[in-house]
Amino acid sequence: MHWLIDPFRYSFMQTGLLAAALVGVTCAVLGVYVVLRRMAFIGDALAHTALPGLVVAYLRGWNLFGGAIVAGLLTALGIGWLSRREAIREDTAIGIVFTGMFALGILLASAARSFRDLSHMLFGNLLGVTPADLALIAGAAGLVLCALSLFHKELELTSFDPLQAEVIGLRPDTLRYGLLMLLALAVVAGIQAVGVLLTSALLVTPAAAASLLTDRLPRMMLVATLIAVGSAVFGLYASYYFDVASGAAIVLACTVLFGLAWGVRAIRRET
């Protein structure tokens, strides 16, 4: 059992473990809505658009997390605003905003010649999470989970029956904006763990795997959480023992578990 406990003599491993678990829970629970409401693309886009915020914050010596949140929230509002006029469809609006912002991030980083730090932003670095980062991740996680629990009934209804929601006086658009804000928060937390490029995997893959295994919403959130946290912890160990990128290991673990869920479902269907 030594090999299980040994790594946690180091404080950076303890911080990393806590960060991984918090990010896992947050992304998995929110991810269930992302999957059910078909928002996978926008989750990916929000992660990418955080890049210029990260780069600017890094170059100015501000908190990276703050920079990413500002960029993420601006994008969430921008996409909502662009597509509200119906002049262009939402997925097109997302495509335009996210590639533009991502390119801006690369441009800023290349101008400052800091490509090595750029790679940490792109691929994440769980072992480099500072206690200050951890506090911010915990704050984001708390905010997202509280909001999801408080507005569960409204989010559920607008997700599966927006028409009825409107009839009883809820505004599906307002809730959608709210959800985009939460998504921006979750994504920024996820970037610390798996980086800009792979964060959407934490949102989509565990929730999608869970949706293959159960057709009850609370259970789906629980299963997604188990998959995400399990994968995050696995990724942390892999990174410690085999010196591989933690983000990639986490995402691959999620993918493997998704494959397993697919298999379980296929077997259930046979019988």
Binding site: S159, E166, V167, I168
Partner: protein, 214 residues
């Protein structure tokens, strides 16, 4: 035109006559371009809790992971407002409505596992669970099984006993006499005189009574 409280009125007309449009406008889903709609003397949107609307083809994502009981329970949400969760009374009403519509044995099923007629009945159950004073039903008889038709007829009788106002859009002219107190004929967005020999019901409701103005 005005509707008194507690009548069951059929809106009859061919496709495109404006039945659905009228119901949607009353439900607050469409802006009113000219004229004015008042429900219990207040503008549309001021009393959501008193109006239930059953659309012809809803927006429901039937693959969503929710069971029939919880779908019907969402009919209670309009009375809860933000942050409050359904209480015991809401669960009781839900159970009672499920029972009345013969859905109790299906209550634990995920909504996608119901047949088309059962899904329609589940949505009707939700509209009833809302316990509103004005019910707007858009083509509830369209493409449903005989069971559901029978249940709907019972429900309409029951609603009259409870002094609820019901407006049903339909192009099914058969059996109107037994299910409704009156009929209103629409064509191309306007009221038209009933075709000769057609059911009009007791016309007194057009004049008398306490009004739930439309």
């Amino acid at each position: 035109m005005r509707l008194p409280v507690g009548v069951r009125v059929a809106l009859v007309g061919p496709n495109g006559a404006g039945k659905s449009t009228l119901l949607k406008a009353i439900a607050g889903l469409l802006p009113v371009r000219s004229g004015e709609i008042c429900i219990y003397g207040r503008p549309v949107g001021a009393c959501h809790h008193r109006v239930a609307y059953l659309p012809q083809r809803g927006d429901v994502d039937w693959r969503f992971p929710i069971i029939v009981r919880d779908l019907v329970l969402t009919g209670r949400y309009v009375h809860l407002g933000w942050l409050r969760r359904p209480g015991r009374r809401d669960l009781e009403i839900t159970a009672e409505v499920l029972d009345r519509l013969g859905l109790s044995p299906l209550a634990e099923r995920q909504i996608g596992q119901l047949s088309g007629g059962q899904q329609q009945r589940a949505l009707l159950a939700r509209a009833l669970a809302q316990d509103s004073d004005l019910l707007l039903l858009d083509e509830p008889l369209n493409a449903v099984d005989a069971d559901t038709r029978a249940v709907l007829a019972e429900v309409l009788d029951d609603l009259r006993d409870r002094k609820k106002t019901v407006v049903v859009a339909t192009h099914d002219l058969g059996r109107l006499e037994s299910d409704f107190d009156g009929a209103l004929y629409l064509s191309e967005g306007r009221e038209t005189p009933p075709p000769p020999g057609a059911f009009v019901g007791d016309e007194s409701w057009k004049v008398f009574g306490r009004y739930s103005q439309i």
